[in-house]
């Protein structure tokens, strides 16, 4: 791409008396600058459309902790015991989060204040993800340069700057761990590949620090600590073992492990958890390998060495197996967690851990979302793999492995598309860069004969270009021009697709809902904030609010009230207790609520607006999670012939459970849509089955203007009974 861009401006540049190298550098730098800015501004749709606000659920917790960090300092943050969530258990926040994001934002905030920019911490939090997305483009450039050439690096930077798979988690306001973690992930990989390529201790040390930052930022570091050993193992097996690899891996692993242990949430997992054992195994394997190499070097007799090899390998394997077995049996090494299992076996969570399966972003990915998030990259990816295999090196092996494994994980879980995105962009950039380069070489070789280099051919149109080569020169040139235009057409399509996806799909804060009105105008539902503000203003400061865990972070951050469960789903029993309360009859539920000192109950209801991700649609998960711990709750009680319904034909338990009553209280009198009977649920398109709902122990306290959030107050026990 750079090479193409050089041609028209080269005349102009000549007047500046720049040498070709300098010209190229200038162009490269200016392209990178533009990409850097582009990556930032394309993520600002949400700010322009709505306002500078934090999105979704988890970011609210991150925002609250960042606020705490900036107000109370690092040590208070580190030791923070939060008694406003998980009542009455509380949560040791400092020890149960990845502090990288908060510390980064607080650091940016401090620097800005040091430079006398009096920004609010919220603005910093909102813009952290776009800022790191911009930095990621730079890393992508260097990474591409490392594995292929500068052209590929530039294309990679451009592709990743607008790739929807990445934008989905890094728009302004999406203040989540992933925002900085993708940067850290790619940076670590880049430094490690650099270390492997150079065999330099310095790069390896740098990658250990990159790994440390990644560990501090996101739980996805487990991917690094498993991919790198796998990569090393592949290199060992394919006979690409070298001293460079030995230095890079050992230094990175040992230092990275020690550094990672400084994060309280990770602690001793690197030596105690089953998920990290692969890295340790490979570490020992490398020592054995090196030792054998040395012995081989010392022993001249091959027969003797063979015998020695046999004994050593047997011993090493035996010792390793025994150590692992003893560790597992004694419980020192914890077995794999459910999340890890569900990555390897997509059906595992569905059968065993409903709380993981209940999260929509943990669902297996549909083909359409691949298409949506990658667009043309989906076709360029195999082409890029082809180029990588054609020019195998340590670096390309790495990117191939990264691409293939992350693509598998992206297929298992929707949210892991994010991890695959950098790999897909890099590999696709190789395809684009190599193709364009070949075609332009073909175009520029005016009077020369057919160059051998051009036979490398292009990607998707490989067969046709081969056919072209057999033709005469002008026809071949025309073909190349046509193919170039084709490539530009595809790339421009990609650009428009990315912009469209960003503006339409990924810039919604999900806390403010937008819909199209009858006349095509935009209607804003700001019910969530209305409800949380009501809680903040109208309830006693120590009031306890029970809701499904999705809203926990938002209630504590915006409503400033104590919640029973929140999005940090660390205690399944506690969540199951809430699920049980929601799916019981009112008089059973009140016992549970009293035992948890609940003062208010909050439900989200979409029947009036047609908002489909409300509590009634999530209700079966509450039943499943509740039933997983308390077998008195049985899913079939809420279903009719295996069908979930809320109309007249619904199961009697469904019609009278707490969640149904709270959602549909007074709804039976309401006309929601013209020409439909009262009590017509627009989210599910049915008339509800129980219109005469009486509440005994709860009373309606507040319902937002569009009925999306409904808050109920728990009545005190009867005075005379």
């Amino acid at each position: 791409m750079a090479a193409v861009a050089t041609m028209p401006v080269s005349d102009l540049l000549k007047s500046f008396k720049l040498k070709t190298k300098q010209q190229e550098l200038l162009i490269r730098v200016s392209i990178l600058c533009l990409v850097y800015i582009l990556a930032f501004i394309t993520r600002l749709f949400s700010v322009l459309r709505y306002e500078s606000m934090i999105h979704e659920f988890d970011p609210y917790f991150n925002y609250r902790t960042t606020l705490y960090l900036t107000q109370n300092g690092f040590y208070d943050f580190w030791n923070w015991f939060d008694y406003e969530s998980w009542y009455p258990l509380g949560r040791i926040v400092g020890g149960t989060l990845y502090p990288g994001l908060m510390i980064t934002a607080a650091l940016i905030y401090r620097i800005l204040h040091f430079l006398r920019f009096a920004v609010h911490i919220r603005e910093v939090c909102v813009l952290t993800a776009p800022f790191f997305a911009s930095n990621t483009t730079l890393v992508a450039y260097f990474f591409g340069k490392e594995i292929w050439d500068t052209g590929a690096g530039l294309v990679a930077a451009i592709l990743i700057s607008v790739c929807p798979g990445y934008i989905s988690r890094s728009v302004a306001g999406s203040y989540d761990n992933e925002g900085v973690a993708i940067f850290a992930l790619l940076f670590t990989f880049y430094l490690f590949v650099k270390a492997v390529n150079t065999g330099s201790l310095a790069w390896s040390l740098a990658s250990a620090f990159g790994y440390f930052y990644m560990v501090s930022a996101w739980g996805g570091y487990v991917f690094i600590i498993n991919l790198i050993p796998l990569y090393v193992l592949v290199l060992l097996i394919t006979g690409r073992y070298s001293m460079r690899l030995y230095v890079a891996y050992n230094c990175m692993y040992v230092l990275g492990m020690l550094l990672a242990m400084q994060i309280r949430f990770v602690g001793f997992q690197h030596v105690q958890s089953g998920e990290h054992m692969a890295a340790m195994g490979v570490f020992f394997l490398m020592q054995v390998f090196y030792f054998l190499d040395w012995v081989k070097h010392m022993l001249s007799d091959t027969k003797l060495f063979q015998a020695f090899l046999r004994i050593t390998v047997t011993c090493a394997v035996a010792v390793g197996t025994i150590a692992l077995g003893l560790g597992m049996l004694s419980g020192y090494i914890s077995p794999w967690t459910g999340r890890f299992y569900s990555l390897l076996d997509p059906t595992y969570a569905k059968d065993h851990i409903p709380i993981i399966a209940s999260v929509s972003e943990h669902q297996p990915t549909a083909w359409s979302s691949f298409m949506f998030d990658f667009h043309i990259l989906l076709f360029l990816f195999p082409a890029g793999l082809y180029f990588c295999f054609k020019r195998l090196s340590d670096a390309t092996i790495f990117i191939v492995m990264y691409g293939l494994t992350s693509m598998y994980f992206a297929g298992v879980m929707v949210r892991l598309i994010l991890v695959a995105t950098p790999a897909v962009c890099l590999i696709s950039s190789i395809a684009v860069s190599a193709t364009v380069k070949n075609l332009t070489v073909l175009l520029r070789s005016k009077n020369k004969g057919v160059q051998t280099g051009s036979t490398k051919g292009s990607s998707s149109s490989k067969a046709s270009s081969k056919a072209l080569l057999d033709q005469s020169q002008p026809f071949q040139k025309n073909g190349a021009i046509a193919l170039l235009f084709g490539a530009f057409y595809l790339l421009s399509k990609y650009a428009t697709h990315c912009t469209w996806v960003t503006s339409e799909a990924y810039s919604s804060p999900s806390i403010v809902l937008a819909a199209r009105g009858a006349h095509g105008n935009r209607v804003i539902f700001d019910d969530y904030r209305e409800a949380y503000f009501w809680l903040r203003q109208n309830t006693p400061p120590d009031a306890k609010v029970m809701s499904w865990w999705d809203y926990g972070y938002q209630i504590t951050a915006m409503g400033n009230r104590t919640v029973i469960v929140d999005n940090n789903t660390w205690n399944n029993t506690h969540i199951a207790t809430v699920g049980r309360a929601m799916s019981s009859y009112e008089d059973e539920a009140i016992e549970i609520m009293r035992s948890l000192d609940v003062n208010y109950v909050l439900v989200v209801f979409g029947g009036v607006t047609g908002y489909s991700s409300d509590d009634i649609n999530k209700f079966l998960w509450m039943v499943r999670i509740g039933g997983g711990v308390f077998p008195v709750i049985k899913e079939p009680d809420y279903l009719v012939n295996g069908e979930y319904r809320v109309d007249k034909g619904a199961a009697p338990k469904m019609l009278n459970c707490l969640m149904y009553k709270l959602c549909y209280y007074r709804f039976g009198e309401m006309l929601t849509e013209y020409g439909k009977p009262p009590g017509y649920d627009r989210a599910r398109g049915v008339e509800i089955g129980n219109k005469d709902i009486k509440l005994e122990h709860l009373e309606e306290a507040f319902t937002t203007s569009n009925w999306i959030v409904r808050i109920y107050k728990v009545k005190p026990p009867n005075n005379r009974w």
Binding site: N79, P88, T562, R720, W721
Partner: protein, 436 residues
């Protein structure tokens, strides 16, 4: 002009005193509304009313159908207690109705309700709301052929005697009621679902509830000691209610009659009624058995300010002051069974408080090795006493990063190992690098 404004300021400052004569600081009732069927009751029950007046209560007699009846004005209650001695009223006058009476009780005021054989549905409904069910047969009365009062005029054995009192000094006073109580009226039972209602005076096992004038065709619904003659309720807000099926219980006639129980040689010159109704009215009007707990405090040992949060394994001191209202002043309450709980879903610490005899209760204990949001809970429920339910939320945090032990003795071998390892590696590196 100026003096006028001063006068207003003075009036305004008096206003709270005028409005809240019932207040937590002096819980005894002052203003009592007495509802009567007709004013002749004033003389026929004068002994009871006079005993109330002599205790400083301000009685306001009104006919139950008085159209100006009202319990509150401008949102403030005009009375502290209500005596309903109008059993046959079908409908109260003025703004008073069932809901108003129940609201009156639910806002912390007291009620004495007496019915008799003419009891209307309204009166029965009030009782039902308080957990007491009168016999549904409107002509039934309590009949007891074994423990009736021997008197010349009675042949139906509806004037019965009972001495089956509840064993509580708080409710019935410290003087033992020697003579049995005369009772003539209708039976009621207490609702089993209501845990707050108490039978103060029960009928004997041989009593039953039936119409004395007709033949008994089917077995009576209420029999034996399931029949309650006098019941009390102490609501959760400490409002006190007394319900009885006999208006005559308070009458001068029964208060002054000599009594002899059938089959017993003991003859008393005066029935126990006077003492009984006086004592129980003292209880109902909060002259006795009213507790308050104040100054709930907790401190870390060695500190003087109350902390906002404890750490696990902290030593703390807990204290609370409990006083009892004697009718005139707050006296220290002395008991050895007051307990404090350190509670998070279940009590982690349960400790009996020791008292200094001057109302101060205290205990000291160690915070358990569990973090979370705890509560200090004092739940004190004793028969006849106002119930105390105090709770104070206090979070307990784990150790800070610098509060752990710096060096653990048992770990010295490990420290030694790591430092010798480091030293060894250093020496080895020097030797390896520079010793060719």
């Amino acid at each position: 002009m100026r003096s006028l404004s001063f006068f207003f300021v003075f009036l305004l400052s008096l206003f709270p005193i005028l409005c809240f004569s019932f207040n937590p600081e002096s819980p005894t009732d002052r203003r009592v509304l007495v509802l009567l069927d007709d004013f002749s009751l004033k003389s026929s029950h004068s002994i009871f009313f006079n005993s109330l007046k002599s205790r400083g209560l301000n009685l306001d007699f009104k006919l139950s159908d008085d159209p100006s009846l009202s319990l509150q004005r401008y949102g403030q209650y005009l009375y502290d207690a209500l005596i309903i001695f109008s059993p046959s009223t079908e409908k109260f006058g003025g703004s008073l109705d069932l809901a108003a009476v129940i609201d009156f009780v639910d806002s912390g005021h007291d009620l004495i309700l007496a019915a008799d054989s003419t009891a209307s549905d309204l009166i029965k409904n009030i009782a039902t709301e308080c957990g007491v069910d009168f016999d549904e047969d409107s002509s039934a009365m309590v009949i007891d052929h074994k423990s009736y009062a021997i008197s010349g005029t009675e042949g139906e054995h509806t004037l019965i005697v009972s001495d089956d009192f509840i064993q509580s000094d708080a409710i019935l006073g410290e003087t033992k009621i020697e003579a049995p109580v005369l009772f003539k009226g209708i039976a009621h039972s207490v609702n089993a679902a209501n845990s707050l209602v108490l039978k103060v005076l029960s009928a004997s096992p041989s009593a039953y509830s039936a119409n004395p004038e007709s033949k008994l065709l089917s077995p009576p619904l209420l029999t034996g000691s399931a029949i309650s003659l006098v019941s009390v309720v102490q609501a959760r807000n400490n409002a006190r209610i007394m319900i009885t099926g006999s208006l005559d219980l308070f009458s001068n006639r029964l208060l002054r009659t000599a009594v002899q129980k059938s089959g017993s040689q003991d003859k008393y010159d005066k029935s126990g009624n006077e003492l009984f109704v006086t004592e129980i009215s003292k209880w109902v009007f909060h002259e006795r058995g009213h507790l308050k707990a104040v100054n709930l405090r907790h401190l870390r040992v060695g500190e003087t300010d109350e902390p906002a949060m404890y750490r696990i394994k902290d030593d703390l001191k807990f204290s609370v002051e409990i006083y009892e209202w004697s009718g005139k002043s707050w006296e220290p309450y002395v008991a050895d069974d007051v307990q404090v709980q350190f509670y998070m879903m279940s009590p982690y610490v349960l400790k009996t408080l020791s008292t200094n005899g001057k109302g101060l209760y205290h205990a000291s204990f160690k915070v358990p090795d569990v973090y979370g949001v705890f509560q200090f809970k004092v739940d004190y429920h004793r028969l006849g006493y106002a119930s105390l339910s105090l709770s104070k939320q206090i979070p307990v945090r784990p150790f800070r990063h610098n509060e752990y032990e710096r060096f653990i003795t048992t770990a010295f071998p490990y420290y030694g190992a790591s430092f010798t390892m480091m030293a060894g590696f250093f020496i080895f590196s020097i030797l390896f690098l520079y010793n060719k």
